[in-house]
């Protein structure tokens, strides 16, 4: 099965069949993925992070916003495993709840940028002409703009809040997927099987969803995994600077910022949230790498422009 997938460009017989991810199959993909030690670790960590976010109320020993003024900035103890923050709130609970913001922002940004990016990429590649010209030039501009600065200004312009930080990051993040999809659309558009479908009277929408988009699926899944990691990092960075999610909502980037002030007295306060951010991003990168190797051996030149 995997063999047909690889050789599809060379044999004319297979040119009439769209190259689809389903030829590899979800089970085959999972099997290859589980052989890679790093991606297994990644998957486990990701599952853990999402469980933290989903089951935070069950897992957290305390209410993350409940202050305890008798125990300010205490180190680890049997009562508070990771100690307490500057208002006496339980750090462990705040970190568990912090997963909610990071995972929501990560997922939200990835869904938004992929959806918008795919739409723009298809428009650009399939329509061509002026559409292509304008959309790709906008992408180029976004690519040269120092990314973090773009997100900071955007997030500041949109105002505080989780939705706004998701929009700010997505407004930056759609350009990558758009370019990826456009490249794939251009490559697939002239394939004999698309021509065959058109000759058979398939509508543009049908060609798009049935023949063109499934072809982009593999690189898109990889981009999604890597994009999730990047979004988590950007959100944490913005939160660290006080942009985005506002207190008292627990967010790892924000905890870190406050913890940094008490670095010499309570080092764990800044170590713990940072470790969570790093682990989350690492897991998504490891998964992305594993997916890339599993989905397409030819894509081994990572991040290569399409």
């Amino acid at each position: 099965m995997e063999e047909t997938n690889k050789k599809v460009d060379e044999t004319s017989e297979h040119d009439l069949e769209p190259r689809r991810m389903s030829t590899v199959g979800f089970r085959g993909l999972l099997k290859t993925l589980l052989k890679n030690r790093l991606s297994v670790i990644g998957i486990v960590v990701i599952i853990l992070m999402f469980s933290l976010a989903l089951f935070a109320p069950l897992l957290a020993p305390y209410d993350p916003n409940e202050p305890d003024y008798y125990n300010l900035l205490k180190g680890p103890s049997a009562k508070h495993w990771l100690g307490t923050d500057d208002l006496g709130r339980d750090l462990l609970s705040r970190i568990i709840y912090g997963a909610q913001v990071s995972m929501t922002v990560g997922l939200g940004c990835t869904v938004f940028s992929l959806m918008f990016g795919t739409f723009m990429g298809v428009l650009s590649g399939y329509r061509g002409g002026a559409w292509d010209m304008v959309i790709m030039r906008i992408c180029d501009m976004i690519f040269i703009f120092p990314g973090f600065m773009f997100i900071l200004i955007m997030a500041a312009a949109l105002g505080p809040g989780m939705i706004n930080i998701i929009i700010a990051i997505s407004l930056f993040g759609w350009a990558g997927p758009a370019r990826l999809v456009r490249g794939n659309v251009l490559a697939v558009r002239e394939m004999p099987y698309v021509e065959a479908a058109r000759a058979a009277g398939a509508s543009n929408t049908r060609i798009m969803f049935k023949y063109v988009l499934p072809n982009c699926l593999a690189p898109m899944i990889v981009a999604a995994a890597l994009g999730l990691g990047a979004a988590v990092g950007m959100e944490a960075g913005a939160a660290f600077l006080g942009i985005g999610v506002q207190p008292p909502t627990p967010s790892w980037g924000r905890e870190l910022r406050v913890g940094y002030t008490y670095l010499s007295t309570v080092p764990l306060y800044s170590v713990a949230p940072g470790l969570m951010i790093t682990m989350a991003i690492m897991a998504f990168i490891a998964l992305g790498d594993g997916l890339r190797d599993a989905l397409d051996p030819r894509l081994r030149g990572e991040g290569k422009k399409v």
Binding site: L38, R137, I138, D140, M141, F143, I144, F145, P146, G147, F148, M149, F150, L152, I153, M154, A156, A157, L158, G159, G229, G233, A236, G237, F240, L241, G253, L256, R257, G259, Y260, L263, S264, P267, S270, V271, G274, L275, I277, T278, M279, I281, M282, I285, A286, D289, R300, G301, E302, G303, K304, K305
Partner: protein, 318 residues
Amino acid sequence: MTRYIIFRLFYAVLLLAGTMVITFFMTRMLPGDPIRAAMQQNLDLRDESIVQEVRARFGLDRPVHIQFGMWTRDFFTGNWGNSLSSGQKVVDMFLQRAPVTLELFFLSLFWSWLIGIIMGVVSALKRNSMLDFGITGISIGGLSIPVFWEAIILIYIFGVWWKILPPSGYVPFFEDPIMNLKMVAMPTFVMATHGMAGVARYVRSCLLEVIGQDFIRTARAKGLRERAVIISHAFKPAAIPVLTIFGGTFGGILGGSFIIELMFAIPGLGRMGLDAIFQRDFPIIQTMAVLGSSCVLIANLVTDIAYGWLDPRVRIYK
């Protein structure tokens, strides 16, 4: 080749113009009134006529498209306006702070490429060894670790715990060279980490791709020593794709300087830009964004030209 360069140059100017439009309208989207924010400390805001007068002095009372026209015209004549919060000339503010950021920037760029290339080459040549596994792990870690957390950990270890490096601050190189190098050691390392990891990963995969090709097998088959095969046959074709990410590392390091300069209390451009965003200081944000984009643009332009020069297929295709 000349046609290719002219085409690229023309395109770069076009992109820059577009970036100016985006930047300008993005800053105008920022909520809050910069004049009121800036005058809060020292002027009586109840007097509306003063607010109006100051606003008029900065040209902020005109329609937005006129403001944009004025800004573009002034920008290219070297008049970048005055800061809304301090009243200083933006040009002077940039010139004063640029050397600090440039020092950090070039040192980081140097480290990220030097160490990144070494790491990538070593792990590609020792593929599937423990060393390769270790370097791959380090580079995934380097890509993942947020700059601010890495900075906190380094500050704690070297600044608070061992006390061998100053935890923050900056002195110019010509005032006290040794102190300067000690002070920039941590910030440049942190700024370089992300790029270093990216370069290492990319070099590794590009080199592996080349090594897997037929002409390398041929070179080995004709009896060349392994070192000669790698150095004279594998490096050049692997270097060409690696060049493409040069501009990307530029942008990454520039973005990192916002947080780094804040954390290490370094009076550079990143710090100024961050303050400007919080104070809605339009002229500074605009100048910063345009200059930042131009840096990446120029890096990309150089890369493109080098690419066309190294790989004839590119320029013929265009």
